[in-house]
């Protein structure tokens, strides 16, 4: 029985070089297919679902919120419905909460117990979000973490760290950068980085090169 790889675009290693557990998933997959527990389509659907999800979805939500106050109000009040308006499928999230940053309040999100993350909106979390260092430090030293990402906040700004321990998934709505009046949504979305929607930094202040 051959191990046809999933139709993915991952980095390919020769299989005999993989670690023990890395190899094992091929055996597990093969057996699950053989026994009819899963189908090839089941697996392929998940690969495609995940590939369709990226921070670009979140950036679009944020950019629209910046230009359209009524949309922003809907995004905060009923996030899943607001996502649906923009063709973003957030139905896999059990309960979705949007955290709005202001001049005096910044939010940051972590999952200290594992790596809970709003995957249906933003795609897979970055490696650092899943790291022990982030999970250990975010709740006790959020300002230190933010400094590493280039964000220095004054003492009179309130930092609110959310530890996402249950079924709630959080998305930070970063502050609109100064001097961006008159810019359109597409331009504005370029300023909204993934890391600004996790809350370790603010949105960019200029379009990246």
């Amino acid at each position: 029985m051959s191990d046809t790889p999933a139709e993915a675009h991952g980095h390919e290693h020769p299989k005999h070089e993989l670690s023990h557990y890395a190899k094992r998933i091929y055996a597990i997959r093969d057996l699950l297919l053989e026994k009819g527990v899963l189908t090839e389509k089941d697996i392929q659907c998940q690969v495609e679902y995940q590939e369709a999800r990226s921070p670009a979805n979140g950036s679009r939500l944020v950019a629209r919120s910046w230009v359209d106050p009524a949309f922003k109000a809907r995004l905060i009040a009923e996030p899943k419905a607001a996502c649906a308006e923009m063709g973003i499928d957030a139905t896999a999230i059990n309960e979705f909460v949007v955290l709005e940053n202001t001049a005096t309040v910044r939010h940051m999100v972590v999952c200290t117990l594992c790596s809970c993350y709003p995957r249906p909106i933003l795609g897979r979390p970055p490696d650092w979000y899943k790291s022990f260092n982030y999970r250990q430090r975010a709740v006790v030293d959020p300002r230190g973490v933010m400094r590493e990402f280039g964000l220095n906040l004054a003492d009179d700004v309130e930092v609110r760290v959310h530890d996402s321990t249950a079924d709630i998934r959080y998305l930070v709505l970063p502050l609109r950068p100064k001097g961006t009046e008159g810019r359109g949504e597409v331009e504005l979305a370029k300023l909204v980085t993934r890391d600004s929607m996790i809350g370790v930094m603010d949105a960019l202040s200029a379009v990246p090169e």
Partner: protein, 103 residues
């Protein structure tokens, strides 16, 4: 009883946040997809998988990479639910390793 090895919020001696990212390997994408597919079919719950990882030996837990831990917990839960056996997995892996050649 004491705090689990996964329960790391506030533990001291954490270092700088390593911000470099790695492109996922095929096997990691597959692990992710199998995990999600098992959930979509109602075969396992996210909390069962988390519990399986929490019950792992602490040293093993810290030594494994993120997706290796996922694969270990997928295996644990499938065996627990008598969907697969460890023997079957071992045997199928041995067949594949013959195909793949020597490391």
């Amino acid at each position: 009883m004491s705090r689990g090895h996964h329960d790391v919020g506030g533990l001291p001696d954490a270092g700088a946040i390593e911000q470099s990212e790695h492109q996922l390997s095929d096997w990691e994408i597959l692990a992710d997809a199998v995990n999600q597919a098992l959930g979509a079919r109602g075969i396992k719950r996210t909390d069962e998988m988390r519990r399986a990882r929490e019950e792992m030996d602490s040293e093993t837990y810290r030594d494994m990479t993120y997706y290796e831990r996922w694969i270990a917990s997928i295996e644990t839960i499938l065996i627990e639910k008598k969907i697969l056996t460890k023997d079957e997995i071992d045997r199928r892996l041995a067949e594949f390793e013959k195909e793949w050649g020597e490391p």
